[in-house]
Symmetry: D2
Subunit: 387 residues, 4 copies
């Protein structure tokens, strides 16, 4: 019997099939990109050509028409089994477009963006981290200028940046203590994508710094999102779906690690300690799948009703519970797989040594990192005001 997570819609089933195909294509060279620290441009070309990036674009606009967060999460998890760097890149893009396509009465430019996405012309980069400041307090500014705004600042951990066509960035609007989101097309004057991503893992994710130096953007491309410091309520559905898709990637990594070490014994004796570690991985996988599945189902079930701000925070808190638990579990699973490998997994030639580094990226991802999540969850549970 198969106990992995499954898509819930027909469109989702097509998406997941596509993700599995890509995962198989990418798995063979994931190690090479990892070792060289290079960005898998050919793989992104395949993703763009194959339609996966248009998952959430409505069918009438040329996309796959996937509405369900669960379908997206499952697809990201399948991708991560082949190449986790690509999976988190896809997750960033997919969550942005899932959000865009949910916008009621989307204005014409958004429809255009969706159509272009359906033709594989768009890759979104979520650029919300900055060195030395928290997520709700960007130092990147959007100052009123002729015809709209002028964006200045520097973003970090910009996954996908080598192929991104548009940057979805947090900004501080004008002189007010106002948070906002800006859409900055890559071709905008003043945009520089650095080539400085060199990290422990997720080495093929192209998570470079991006510099905005007086980038002019039209007024409609900067959206105010409430006071600084707060997770903006209007963006919560985007951030919770985005967070959950990244959890899906962690789960996919863990599933791959277990697959590598838990092959049928086929007559060979199995040491009790090996069997125990395999069993503990099964426990964590069963629970992790359930947790991801339930959180996705909650979003699919409750977001359409248009929850209030406090309700959105309660939903987000559930997503964060799963975020904390499943990323922790995924790290533990890969670690046990390494132990079971008995030293072989520690060699660079083993995919386990890559998975071990990739999976550790999870708890740094926003919102919320391991330093923040418990505080948020605790505040929501104890009815303290939301931050």
């Amino acid at each position: 019997m198969n106990f992995e997570l499954e898509p819930v819609s027909a469109a989702g089933a097509r998406l997941v099939e596509l993700a599995e195909k890509h995962a198989a294509e990418f798995a063979g060279t994931a190690g090479e990109y990892d070792r060289a620290g290079g960005f898998p441009f050919p793989h992104w070309a395949q993703l763009r050509a194959g339609g996966l990036l248009a998952a959430s674009v409505p069918a009438q606009l040329g996309g796959l028409g996937v509405d369900s967060v669960q379908d997206l999460v499952v697809a990201v998890g399948r991708l991560a089994r082949g190449d986790a760097s690509i999976a988190i890149g896809a997750a960033m893009h997919l969550s942005a477009f899932w959000y865009f396509s949910r916008m009621p009465a989307a204005p014409a430019p958004m429809k255009l963006l969706l159509r272009r996405c359906a033709r594989g012309r768009v890759v979104a980069c979520v650029a919300i981290s900055e060195p030395g400041t928290a997520i709700g307090w960007p130092r990147t500014t959007a100052r009123p200028a002729e015809g709209g705004y002028r964006i200045d600042g520097r973003k970090t951990f910009c996954t996908n940046s080598p192929v991104a066509t548009v940057f979805l960035s947090t900004v501080r609007i004008g002189d007010a203590e106002q948070l906002g989101f800006a859409l900055v097309p890559r071709e905008t004057a003043g945009v520089t994508v650095l080539d400085n991503w060199d990290a422990l893992g997720m080495r093929g994710s192209g998570s470079n710094d991006v510099v905005f130096d007086g980038c002019p953007v039209p007024a409609g491309m900067v959206v105010p999102a409430g006071p600084l410091g707060q997770l903006p309520t209007a963006m919560l559905p985007f951030t919770m779906a985005g967070a959950l898709l990244l959890v899906g990637a962690a789960l996919g990594i863990a599933e791959r690690a277990q697959e590598l070490v838990a092959q049928p014994a086929a007559g060979r004796p199995v040491r009790p300690e090996v069997a125990r570690l395999v069993a503990e991985n099964e426990v964590d996988l069963a629970v992790g799948r359930a947790a991801v599945g339930r959180a996705a189902a909650l979003l699919d079930d409750r977001l359409p009703a248009g929850p209030s701000g406090p309700q959105l925070h309660e939903l987000m808190s559930q997503v964060q519970c799963v975020n904390v638990a499943v990323k922790r579990a995924a790290i533990a699973i890969v670690d046990r797989a390494l132990t079971v490998s008995g030293g072989r997994g520690y060699l660079s030639s083993s995919p386990l040594s890559r998975l071990y580094r990739d999976v550790r990226a999870g708890p740094f991802m926003q919102p919320f990192s391991a330093l923040d999540a418990d505080e948020y969850i605790g505040r929501i549970r104890l009815g303290l005001e939301h931050t």
Copy 2:
């Protein structure tokens, strides 16, 4: 928003409502029965009269007609919030009758049993543990005798025994290395229910020893179940549902503990360490609920198709993953609640001190105890033969 597990059928909703009503009735005196170590006979009378014990009996036979394991699990969890001892007793009975009512073409005596159950005349006790031997190797014997069998042996941890009307017991049949199940009515000659249950927790569960001294039972009441030592395939649906219902009780205890310490701050300052522990409990609760819900949904989804033996073991392994994880999590949740209580929870006057003892019973329950579960899960995953 409410994120607790919910029943999935209308019949289940009625059952859960009933369970919540009983939980409220029992909560007030659970501490007294605990302290005195007495058995809550009046509460069992209420259960019998109210219809909860007939949950799985088909409506046409007078019961509530609940088919779904998830509905039963949710009901047991609700009961456990009020009194965990009663909840595990109800779980034992409910899993037995869920199994009985699933039997295709149930023979007349079984229909009679179901009807009597619907009238509150029956309480089943699952008597499968014995001192000094593993669950698949009972020393209790069923020897052929005039008109059927004669049962001799001693069972331990017989939850519900003070009110049980019938004992569902594992036996060793004849001189063969054959495992079997025997139904022994309480009024059978030679049945003695001891009054020796005195334990750390679950003190109101009446988990006494029961002695069978030459008890005559008709042939039809002893069912062979395969070779000794093995978890009999035919009984797997019963044992997996039974195990999951007990996990539901653990979850209910944990939910109650969190409720006791995670009250809205209401303006009071909250220490960061308190908020963190409350948050970690939220994480474990969210994941635990998801795990229990998914395992129950798997059973509801896949058992009707009549899985093969190996498939049943794979399902059982999923249940065991949840069994391991959620009982561990429930213990951790109650422990954190105790820490949050700052010493007050350690006093006998606090329900937390009872929950702390009750919840620790979980990992001893069969199948499988904490000493056995990982071995089983590992063997199934690695394709070793089932034991």
Copy 3:
């Protein structure tokens, strides 16, 4: 080979021998006092008569002349193997008298107290906890009155109170924001020792509430100890030794639990999971003994030099590291022992079920409880001011 902690001085060796003798005497009836929740007055009579309570009193004043904290810690651990309730009571008294006997140029009344202690006439009760307030913010007041002070307030968790002859209590002095310590003899007018100790564990410790209702004490018996809210520097040696002695009790409980389940296999087959749990207990015991031993050696080594305030806090932080780690480990050890017992340990007739409840008291003990210790350690390490 024996790897348990050993005394470091000849006087300590005599003390430890005495502790082992008492542990053997008390072990048999510890369960009875636990069950009844009674206070073991006869055992305290034995302790007073045997000289153990005079451990730190200088030999020339009639005591055993034990200077070393390590010797005291080892003795408390040995006692805890027999009866943990008595061990924590002894720890409270011993730490107070270790502190008294270190006082340079002790005034005449103190010498008298030490002499009386040597004759078994004194039992000290450390009364520093109050309901609803933190340890540095007592609500109990010492107001100037004729001939000294008048003490009013209520203390809780007053271990030893049934036999205590003197209460060492934290007070708030006058109207100033001043913390102080008061010595209140039991026979003082207005002292009431309640009989309200009824808890999950440590049931024989007599940790009742004590009420001071206008108790007159002479001026010399109230010692100012710095501003409210702070752990007074002058008292740090007392509080760190006291904390470490209680850790010694936790270690002794853990040693006893392991002894109960890790008997030589003597030819019987041992399940791998049982061997693993026993091994994990060995790991925790080896490390726990080392940690307790090193912390005690640090105190014995560095306190005589008269460290500065900040240095005392650094030493205290090391003690707290051990406090956190070893109490956690002790709880884990008893828990594993319970698992190994396979259900038998869960019965009230098993000493394990008592150890499981007793050992959980550790993290509530001050200074610092599990809610406070990490905050303190973190502040010291990061060079934040001491609180």
Copy 4:
């Protein structure tokens, strides 16, 4: 106050000073060797020239004359703060020479070896791992041949191999089921040191495969060591000292990680979660140092008396307890440091990203790896025969 482990002898103090000097020299370039995966030949030249490798060689033979295991452990830990790859290399060599120099009435060739070591001419490589077999069952053979033996086989994880002048290898002697140790000089015909070490961490340790192809060695250089499969009693002092030195390296890595993130706050606000993680690291460091110190002191204290075989196994079991606990703790400490770093530590430019990979090597090291240690400890504790 300083709470790090200290040497116990004057010779040890000189050794530790030397180790600290080298650590400072190597720290700056450790990252470069790590990135390139190259072997730090210049650093090994410094080690040879400076005398550290002659630590255990008696002073009269030109060495530092360090007898104490604790002194060696402290030195290895200091080295590891600068470069962990070099530290484990030094540990391998130092444990071999500590063992050689303890040999009573060492024969002339051994004296020569020690003298040559004192002049920096010798680097020992402990070659005891082989792919696909356990440590007591080498497939490398020593077959009788003219003038002694002929060695054939392949060893793996041969730390130090690029500079090793002599290989200390486990062999299977003749056709008997006999385990042995062979000393194979590098210049022996048929020795090939591969250049195939490429791993997750410890990348500068040169842990290549080494092939013996018909290598002739004189009879005296092959020492029988009991039946296959067993940890040979005669070698236990060597293996336990060797294991503990490697634990020392793990501790040094952890100390370095904590130093990187736990800088004085200096007026900046500190988030509670950061302070908590720093505190948990302090807890693990305090306990880890205590554990390593106590195990080393036990060896220094009890080995000189010449313990019996069973006693040696009990000592080894204590070392293994510390091995398990401290390597686990070191991994947890580096992991928490990474979390505290908030993403910056995940970048390749941060030493934390190297420490995270290096520290994970610990549990693979023999004897015993994480897969073996608990089984060994459990068997010793339960009095099962030693394997």
